[in-house]
Amino acid sequence: MKIAVCVKRVPDMDVRFRIGADNISVDQGGLKFDINDFDAWAVEAALQLKDKNAGSEVTVISLGPDVVQETIRKALSMGADRGIQIKADKVPFDGLAIAKALSAELKTGGYDLILFGKMSPDSSNGVVGPMAAELLGLPCVTAISSLEIANGKGTAKRELEGAQEIVEFPLPAVLTVDEGLNAARLPSLKGIMAAKKKPLQIKPALLAEPQITVRKLELPAERKAGRIVGEGAAAVPELVRLLQTEAKVL
């Protein structure tokens, strides 16, 4: 089986973000970057399929500047076989531009399965996977939380509000991965050593003119400090009054 996984380098989300001087991007100073969690689960899914199907090959693809090579190497150290950097000065905000550049590469690879994370937490558009599927003319299943491949056919589960959906699809197909599919493995030291020697190709990105651009970035308003109105039952009338007159929720 030939499997491609598209991965994105994203900032660690557990930090306080600052807006950059240009007002349209995040200040990158002090940020730590790693592979998007959803993409790491996609890599893990690919590696589990590879473990089950001897002779499979897992290719990891990332679009962006040279720093994304670090993200590709991480996937290689987990066990992927080869990497491709689609080189661009920066990652556009417009998901369609990304999808076009990625699918130009994906269509030449003859992949049986193409995996994406269901979204990346930095831009939260969640469109790149489905758009690439459309451009490639392939069936697309989004936000899968289980995956089974047998006899050239796939079965996946999707978590819905209060229900689960089981879907079936032919190969080749494009899938986007949700939380809960698996727990991504850590690279072993042997894996880290081996990753150095694995092939990593660099190709220029064919980036279309972006149709969506970010005009302004704003932080949410600071939450006001809470107020303690009083204690016990005696405080209730005042609380009700404030909820009616100030908060206007009653």
């Binding site: 670090e70 991480k74 850590l186 690279p187 072993s188 030291l189 042997k190 880290i192 050593m193």
Partner: protein, 405 residues
């Protein structure tokens, strides 16, 4: 020193992996293992799978084939979260395995190193005796040659992995009256004291190892810190050790363990520094959350100065430790640098954890916050693998020797 002159991209990849492992698998269990003084078998298994129990050994011997700096990075990262896990790696690798790699015959390496490097079996190092601590040359254990074997008698005390380990390097006198030149070292084997657990997990025991008659471990020490690490005495009663288990030549035991301790000291420096860094990170974060007098305590200059001092000392410690490791890696004499790094970083761990509790106030004195455990874990770093006093002796001896040369 997120990035530095010492690190390659690969070093950073190793660090990220260990950091993720330590935060994900070690941090959630560290307090409980400490409270129960329980050896972290489940994590030892995972560490073995990740290659963390044979980092610097060649791949032919089952190791990961990485350099010494990578190994120090791993000990340092692990200790930021939990010193017991870090000493498990360090004692197993430097004390339990390196003497066989460095001084063993081809046959000894082939027989024992793959078992140790893959984490199948844990190793340890028995030097200290009840009457031979800092003065390790006054070893009393004896090994008397009888035909094709030696008969070993005596006891060792405070041996890391004494119970859980199966392969040990121990020293004994083979030529009484010859002083340090009369001490030899041997590879001895026994069964793990946790056989049921090791069988359940499929690690920690190997059936092919001889369980030498008369070689036993004593009761587990109830310690102030490093509580999830297993420390015990070892007892030898007429143990028949095959002559082929002599490690190095007869009379070389003392010299060899001195060399082993030089590397061990860089490891303890890395571990101590990790404790200091971990305690500092907690304190820095806490100081920006805790409010008194209507302000975050981090806005008080009295707290800021403490944070600035600790950060400065930690930065100095990093340079001492990574430089000593770099010298060792580049095969330069590093005995003095190792002792300096060990002395400075272990005393730094103690100073820092005391300040860390102070910055946390009463909360830091409770088990709700990890700085309490870090404070207890720091003290042994000033004692194990040579006390601070002994480090000063080693440093001074080197200084005077350099002057004489």
């Amino acid at each position: 020193m997120e990035d530095s002159l010492y690190f390659s991209e690969q070093h950073l990849a190793v660090r990220n992996m260990v950091r993720e492992f330590a935060r994900g698998e070690v941090a959630p269990v560290a307090a409980e293992l400490d409270a129960k003084a329980e050896f972290p078998w489940a994590n030892v298994k995972k560490m073995g799978e990740l290659g963390l129990l044979g980092i610097p050994w060649p791949e032919e011997l089952g190791g990961a084939g990485l350099d010494l700096l990578s190994y120090m990075i791993v000990i340092n990262e692990m200790a930021k979260i939990d010193a017991s896990h870090a000493i498990t790696i360090s004692a197993h690798t430097t004390l339990g395995t390196s003497p066989i790699v460095n001084f063993g015959t081809a046959a000894q390496k082939k027989r024992y190193v793959p078992l140790l490097a893959t984490g199948k079996v844990l190793g340890g190092f028995g030097l200290t005796e009840p009457s031979a601590g800092s003065d390790a040359a006054s070893t009393r254990s004896t090994a008397v040659r009888k035909g094709s074997h030696y008969v070993l008698n005596g006891s060792k005390i405070f041996i890391t992995h004494g119970g859980v380990g199966e392969i040990f390097i121990v020293t004994a006198v083979t030529e009484p009256g010859a002083g340090t030149k009369g001490i030899s070292s041997f590879i001895v084997t026994k069964e793990s004291s946790d056989l049921d657990k090791t069988k359940r997990l499929g690690i920690g025991h190997d059936d092919s190892l001889t369980s030498m008659r008369g070689f036993t471990s004593g009761k587990k020490e109830d310690k102030l810190g490093w509580r999830a690490s297993d420390t015990r005495s070892l007892v030898f009663e007429d143990v028949e050790v095959p002559a082929e288990n002599l490690l190095g030549e007869e009379g070389e035991g003392f010299n060899n363990f001195m060399r082993t301790l030089d590397s061990g000291r860089v490891g303890i420096a890395a571990l101590s520094l990790g404790i200091a860094e971990g305690a500092f990170e907690h304190s820095l974060r806490y100081s920006t959350l805790r409010k008194q007098f209507g302000q975050r305590i981090s806005s008080f200059q009295g707290i800021q100065f403490q944070l600035a001092d600790i950060a400065t000392e930690i930065e100095a410690g990093k340079h001492l430790m990574f430089h000593a490791a770099w010298m060792a890696q580049n095969k330069q004499p590093f005995s003095k640098q190792a002792a300096i790094a060990k002395l400075y970083c272990s005393e730094l761990a103690m100073r820092t954890t005391i300040k860390a509790i102070q910055i946390h106030g009463g909360y830091g004195y409770t088990k709700e916050y990890p700085v309490e455990r870090m404070f207890r874990d720091a003290k042994i770093c000033e004692i194990g693998e040579g006390t601070s006093e002994i480090q000063r002796l080693v440093i001074a001896r080197n200084l005077l020797k350099e002057l004489a040369d």
